[in-house]
Symmetry: C2
Subunit: 81 residues, 2 copies
């Protein structure tokens, strides 16, 4: 079982890294791009013996409590079998 | 229109950052986690006037050519309206 955690900055938080990527892309001729926001992405493999329900709870907890800074970031978790 | 680009290390490439996250999680008591691999995540907003087909082509090109280092990374692109 695998889980994917996407952590991104809240929309109210400035993202200078994304702005830099955006202006670099504009400089390279990619003019369709209005805005870029950068985030983090974690691919988590679950130990084989662990049940789906327990894995789900544990990954959701660690995504919220460890991988995300709730003051400035939000996270999204996806699972596949 | 928005596009999401996920860049992750190829499975053959070592990921010391992911390993560090994994051992930190184990230290915190999250024992269901077998492995963690860390990647990058870009949320790209497209300029309103640009057609879907052109946006798609442009984002796929920039994801492959600019956001990804093809020697060690792969990317995945998703679109939504």
């Amino acid at each position: 079982m695998k889980a994917r955690v996407y952590v991104s900055l809240k929309s109210t938080v400035l993202d200078p890294q994304g702005k830099t990527v955006r202006s670099a892309l504009a400089g390279l001729g990619y003019h369709s791009v209005a805005d870029v926001r950068q985030g983090k992405y974690f691919e988590i493999s679950i130990e084989p013996g662990v049940g789906a329900e327990q894995a789900r709870t544990e990954v959701e907890t660690l995504a919220q409590d460890v991988l995300t800074n709730p003051v400035i970031e939000t996270c999204r978790v996806e699972f596949d079998a």
